[in-house]
């Protein structure tokens, strides 16, 4: 019995140490830019105005879609908002806003003040769904095509150059 315990404990520790050794060589910084070129995951997201939800699969109907993660409490979101309004004027591009960890009243006021560029407004009250898109801070914007493939990922507020870049991609 003693011998068996001895072997089991030693093997368990050895396994643990091997994994810890391997982890030393791992890339520690999670770079969500790596997600470009991959398909977005199929997720159900709650809609902002109603209790219904929509599946990201439905986005295959759009030629191009922008997913924008924002919140009323986020300063840079306020800054990038005019650029989203600019993008909303492009015909073959649909905008989906995901309201991130926000309070509904504040979010409504924000859109009333700055305009609502979004075709669909969704919400992610606790920030869980956004993780599926590799979003860990806001604002973040993802451009996808009709096959749900990520074409571009913008971390931080969109600037006017980004808007022009998106215009070019969508025109092709």
């Amino acid at each position: 019995m003693k011998k068996i315990n001895y072997i089991i404990i030693s093997v368990l520790f050895s396994l643990l140490f091997i994994v810890l050794y391997l982890s030393l060589g791992n890339e520690k910084i999670y770079n969500t830019q790596d997600l470009v070129g991959k398909k977005i995951s199929e997720v159900e997201i709650n809609l902002f105005q109603s209790n219904e939800s929509f599946n990201t699969k439905e986005l295959t109907n759009n030629e191009f879609t922008i997913l924008n993660f924002w919140a009323s409490w986020c300063g840079p979101c306020r800054k990038e908002h005019p650029n989203l309004v600019r993008l909303s004027k492009i015909k073959n591009l649909k905008l989906i806003g995901v309201n991130f960890k926000d309070e509904k009243d504040n979010a409504r006021n924000f859109l009333r003040e700055n305009g609502n560029p979004f075709d669909i407004l969704a919400e992610d009250k606790n920030g869980k769904n956004s993780v599926n898109f590799g979003v860990y801070g806001i604002p973040e914007t993802i451009l996808i095509d009709s096959e749900l493939k990520i074409l571009k990922k913008y971390i931080g507020p969109l600037n006017i150059n980004d808007v022009n870049e998106i215009r070019k991609i969508v025109k092709k």
């Binding site: 140490f17 982890s23 030393l24 409490w73 986020c74 306020r78 800054k79």
Partner: protein
Amino acid sequence: MLSNLGILFTIGTLFTSLFIIFFTFKEFKVVNNLIPSKIYKFTLFQLFFSISSFFVLLLAYILSDFSLVNVYENSHSNKPLFYKISGTWGNHEGSLLLWINILVLFSSLFLFLTKNNDKSFKILTLLFQNLLIATFLIFLLTNSNPFSGLFPVPLEGLGLNPILQDPALAIHPPLLYVGFVGSSIYFSAALAALISKIDSQSFAVSIKSWVLVSWFFQTVGILVGSIWAYYELGWGGYWFWDPVENSSLMPWFVMTALLHSILVLERRIGLFSWVIVLSILTFTMSVTGTFLVRSGILNSVHTFASDPSRGLFILSFLVLMVFSSIFIFFKFSPKEDKKYSIFSKEAFIIANNWFMIFFLGVVLIGTLYPVLLDTITGSKISVGPPYYNLILAPFLIPLLFLMTSGPNYKWISNEIRSLFNLVLVLSVTLFLITFFFIKEKNFLINLILFFSIYLITQTLFDFYESFKKKNINISRIISHLGFGLLIFFIYINHIFSVENNFNLKLGETKKTEYYSIKFVNLEEQSIKNYKSIIGYFNVTNKKNFTSKELKPEIRVYDKPFTITYEASINSNLFSDTYLTMSNISDTDVFNIKFQVKPFMNLIWLSVLLLSLGGVLNFFKRKKI
């Protein structure tokens, strides 16, 4: 100059350690009961060299001697003296030197203070402790030398990370180090006890003070870190289940278990092997924590600039330590066949131990799982508070219950006690009163609240009873009372905390359900090593019309360039009003985080009470 002097002292420490290893190894085989005086002398020399090396580094920081890479990278001549001093251990190399100093200090204190006369036990403890010291010194000298020189000498240093420039954080690392590095001495003693076959009771007596000391410092260290996180990180939380916080909590669980098992061992009721395992495990957990923090495999506020070679060294050390402990344990472990009756004090203590080990397991898995998953499958996850709350909270209930009834059972007896008594009736009444005020719907939370009230009431009742009999176990009463209050206030705080996030311009007022917050004024100030933007806010409680002024700050440090957000907290015994502001670039709008957190000070006080129990136990022992 200081660079060479520091290296000289460090090499001196290493050589004395090697001598001690050599002599203790030789002396171990000599059969007599006298420890030769040369071992005492070398230990004193070692202590001298080690403390001197630390003072050299301290001096280099105070004088801002930038000819040392370490000082250049982590200090600045404009920094207030207090932070120059704390900068000594605010970095990997300096803190490693502090580590070694504590190892050496505990080693010599053990040699000089332990009354135990078993020569081979004492000498072997010294041998193992010095093996630890020598290994860490080699690591320090070859990989992480705080005395590395720099030429040409730079005129100015790079500065200390501003979030570390804080009084609580200056003392937080040394406290924790005394806690978990201090556990090294009973690790060494446990291995020595196995080989020297010392009798279990005298082993218990000789390590008890060391366990108490390290447990006390670990508790206070965790508390200070928590307080720092609360007002400095600006999130309003005090415990985040951050992997590095977990690293300090894991040894704490084992220490707490050990503290209780020793009580059993002291009375010769058994648990010898178990106490040995716990002693080994405490230090193993401390080194594991150090590995996780220093290797950089975790991302956290505590991460030092990471360097894979450091991780590799600590991991190799850990492997060596764990496997030699396992080997020694299985080769020398004593035979035990004790039976415990269910309704005895020792049975409750064993149950307490299983809870502590369960908590340890949960936290260990939560901490390591993301690392393992990432390494094996490449997917990144993070384990957060929901996991810990979900798994740990239900188990608080039986733990609280054990703490309530356990202490009143007798040693080695099997007498069943009726649970129905005055205290229970009183606790139910108190709980119903509490419930009337809080109206909490969650059943689990209500249960936890009830059992914490039960523990508090029973402990106070025990105090009264033992006071009458003039036989007070004051340390147990204070610690258990502290724990009951801690759980009670944590949950009350959780239920009544209010948080609002909004944007505000100067002059505007935000009205929430219970408060109105007015942004009155904005001021800029220049202070020695940073610029400060101060917001003036008036917070009015709509219910009782009391008004408070809060002044959150945005600090812009120039060396290194960093912006920090200083929370403004209006604190009294019953409630904290907490406000942070952050600027939104290119606008005149500020983002405000407003929180009301009840009983924060009582949470801190409960932890102090908990640790105070440990200190009292220490003094109680001294009298005997």
